[in-house]
């Protein structure tokens, strides 16, 4: 049984457009993804594709003007607002994306200690700082005194000491130098091997591939493909969705080839396939209705032309 199961999740924001006129923005639509114990799932996609919102929806920390539909299950049971509140920080931990999530008025060592569930807080905090090569003076610093990479490591430390079973790491790697990056990735993989379930949200496919078992590719708020990590190889011939192929081909070590256009805005989503306007294979049918996510070659794809 999957430890975390997201089914047909939609997240809509109600916004004021001008004056008292309201509009709805559909940031996530029909998103489905599952997370198994002992597994590292990487979620990749452009910014604005709903990656962080998914994390926030799972943890129940979406802003008040958000409405969700669909279901999120933890260990087979639907997550209600109350249940989420009792689980987060204990069973489900978040490594937040922005350094702004640290308390600006609290020394970072103390912040990490408040997250410790097993063992002596000070000891656990020093152990994890040592592992991330944060010098002992760092525990006495305030967030504004940290460099970007140091703050990132403090955020990771907080989740590492929590003893949670599900770790959701939201872009934990930007700004880390290769050594710190390596340590962070190893640590996430270890957690997976110890039986935790790890969701690594990132746009860095290269890092994701080093530790992930499965990769979920997001585009404009939905899952376009879920593939075993080993399919990301060569010219991307094993990938299923045209967007995944384009993403793979745009990496600096591959073709560095851009495709034109940009992701549709969540206030103006097309009725059909969300990628159709940029897709070479698009036909009339693609513009009519959003394709369903279907099984294909040991993975899933949301494209009628994929083979």
């Amino acid at each position: 049984m999957p430890i975390l199961e997201v089914e047909n999740l939609s997240v809509t924001f109600r916004q004021y457009a001008s004056g008292l006129k309201e509009r709805n923005i559909r940031a996530i639509s029909n998103l489905s993804v599952t997370l198994e114990q002992g597994e590292v799932l990487a979620v990749v996609g452009a910014s604005g594709s709903g990656k962080s919102l998914l994390a926030h929806a799972i943890l129940g920390i979406l802003p008040a003007n958000a409405e969700t539909a669909g279901s999120i299950k933890y260990c087979g049971e639907t997550l209600t607002a109350k249940r989420t509140q009792s689980l987060r920080g204990r069973e489900i931990a978040l490594v937040p994306q922005s350094v702004g999530y640290l308390d600006p008025l609290m020394r970072v060592g103390n912040q990490v200690r408040t997250a410790v569930r097993n063992g002596k807080p000070a000891e656990e905090q020093r152990k994890v700082f040592k592992r991330y090569k944060l010098k002992s003076v760092v525990e006495k610093l305030f967030p504004f005194e940290l460099s970007g990479g140091m703050a990132r490591r403090v955020l990771l430390s907080t989740a590492m000491v929590s003893g949670a079973k599900v770790i959701i790491a939201d872009e934990p790697t930007p700004g880390l130098d290769p050594e710190a990056l390596n340590e962070a990735l190893l640590n996430l993989r270890e957690l997976g091997d110890q039986g935790c379930a790890v969701m690594l949200i990132t746009h860095d496919i290269d890092s994701a591939l080093r530790i992930a078992d499965k990769i979920a590719v997001f585009y404009a708020g939905t899952t376009v493909e879920i593939a075993p990590a080993k399919d990301f190889t060569g010219d991307g011939e094993h990938l299923r969705h045209p967007y995944s192929k384009a993403l793979w081909g745009a990496l600096p070590q591959n073709g560095f080839t851009p495709i034109p256009g940009s992701q549709p805005h969540s206030a103006a989503l097309p009725p059909g396939c969300l990628f159709a306007s940029r897709c070479e294979k698009a036909t009339k049918e693609c513009h009519q209705a959003q394709p369903d996510l279907r099984e294909l070659r040991n993975g899933k794809v949301r494209c009628i032309h994929a083979t």
Binding site: S47, L176, A250, F256, H265
Partner: protein
């Protein structure tokens, strides 16, 4: 015109020297990478080159002359987080004009759509915003561009789109680029040489 940094030293307040005795120079049209572990002062060095900070020791010169204190700064910097580099209450069209009248060909190459000019920053994604920041920094007076983790937060397709546009312009105008990144593969793809801080 060559960009030179001679014996640059900097520290914040009374904290230990972040760096001292930094020397390097860049030729027009050259793409140079800058790498180093986090916290070694890469961003600070960029800020000094682009005139946001004054070095405590040494000097930065362009074609042998000190950088101008007023008027258009010939060394322009693009930051890692575009959402922090634009006025949240201005429509994007106004933000774009901060750097002078934008070049239509560049806007097209960067994939900036006309209707985005009427939007506020919170109605655009990070990738879309960064295109504006790049366009704003590439006024006709820019001789050197400092790209401090310019595409780190972006997906691979957007990263490739932006770099293709920037490299095309750099070649046309013989503009130099300093690329700060932790991504060795990106550096390999872009840079003529890489220096370490």
């Amino acid at each position: 015109m060559q960009l030179d940094a001679k014996n640059i030293g900097f520290r914040y307040g009374k904290s230990p020297w972040l760096f001292k005795g930094i020397n390097f120079s860049m030729q027009p049209g050259e793409v140079v990478g800058l790498k180093g572990p986090s916290g070694t002062g890469k961003t600070t060095l960029c800020r000094i080159l682009a005139g946001y900070e004054k070095p405590l020791e040494g000097k930065v010169t362009l074609g042998g002359k000190a950088l101008p204190e007023i008027g258009y700064h010939p060394v322009q910097m693009v930051f890692q987080h575009p959402e922090k580099a634009v006025n949240p209450r201005w429509k994007m069209g106004k933000t774009l004009k901060e750097g002078g009248r934008p070049d239509d060909d560049l806007l097209a190459r960067l994939g900036i759509q006309q209707e985005w000019l009427e939007r506020l920053p919170n109605e655009l994604s990070g990738g879309e915003l960064q295109r504006f920041c790049v366009a704003r920094a590439l006024g006709p007076g820019t001789r050197f561009l400092i790209a401090d983790e310019m595409t780190t937060m972006l997906d691979a397709i957007t990263q490739a789109q932006i770099w293709h546009a920037v490299l095309h312009l750099a070649e046309k105008r013989k503009m130099g680029i300093l690329v700060v990144s932790h991504d060795a593969k990106l550096m390999n793809r872009l840079c003529d040489r890489v220096i370490e801080l």
